[in-house]
Symmetry: C2
Amino acid sequence: MRDVFQQQLALLDAQLLVMASSMQDAVSDAIKVMEDRSDDLAKKVIDGDDDIDRQEREIESLCLKLLLTQQPVAGDLRRVSAGLKMVGDIERIADQAADICETSISADEAFDARLAVHLRRMGECACDMVHDAVEAFVEQDLEKARAVVGRDDEVDALFDAVKTGVITTIQEGSGSANGLIGALMVAKYLERIGDHAQNVAEWVGYSLTGYYKGDLIG
Amino acid sequence: MRDVFQQQLALLDAQLLVMASSMQDAVSDAIKVMEDRSDDLAKKVIDGDDDIDRQEREIESLCLKLLLTQQPVAGDLRRVSAGLKMVGDIERIADQAADICETSISADEAFDARLAVHLRRMGECACDMVHDAVEAFVEQDLEKARAVVGRDDEVDALFDAVKTGVITTIQEGSGSANGLIGALMVAKYLERIGDHAQNVAEWVGYSLTGYYKGDLIG
């Protein structure tokens, strides 16, 4: 019975990894679409989102089945419940990646060059946070998970810079309105990716320690 | 032992209700702030957000404790796991309410009158969805939960109307840039509230039936 349980836990880890890897690809592809507005790559990310939604439901189903049939305790319980929460954040990140693609290709033209500098840097930060949060999960590395938390400050500051840049450009009466609004929405999606990456890292930390956002829970 | 468990389940329901009610107040107050830009009411919502975050952690803690110590099965397990997922959506709704307040009071002036009409309607829809999702949870009413799902189509359509209105107003060169961007961000926050209200309703449905977004899970 315990062997079956250990196999199912390993399956949960493997499924989470496949999903996290699909999500990571979606984010890095979305950053590319933001730059080069490739319709094909955008379509790949947008179409792929359904598959990530399906993976979320499968993992939720597996987590609930494990809770129901195996009644895990202590560390195993934390692992399953962290998985159950984490998939929600991973799915939301993939959603934002699809939103970035839709917004980028529906803009009239490439984003304003000054804004594009901030967006590129936001994309790099958000991508790094996602990558490190997933790696912390794979390696069960508490230090790496902790290092992700708080890194969204830079992403938040860059969002404010894009917002200020958009307002200034509107006031100057320059730039395409559609493009400016698109750049602002993409910045918002990148900021949300940073938030969700931080949540994933928090759940990895919880799974390893029982502490979530500084509080011992469970 | 079962009596203790039933008491703890009742406590979980009661805590979820208090949190949902705090969140509902935050949303309806945020809609007021969007209209009248009252600093005091905005401060109340923004300050109250920490308390809602604390409630989220307490409920997560209780859910995990219930899973750990009581090893619930079938309907009880669904109730606890739905609670564990639902608190995340409730907390995100309260976050967006605080974001609406911050954006509304930091705008130079009241939002453009044409946009304000759409924002008001979005606020009403989002508020109704939140209210009905919470009521479906309180009354364990599957029909009411199902009726919430899909209602975000109107909210999504209104978001597009605000976005188009903002772009047109920028192109006309009229209106304050800061106010236009603020209106767009508020519309985005309201759209997200609709999404999360729908998720809450989906979790109520899951708790009652075992089906989540059309799939039998667990």
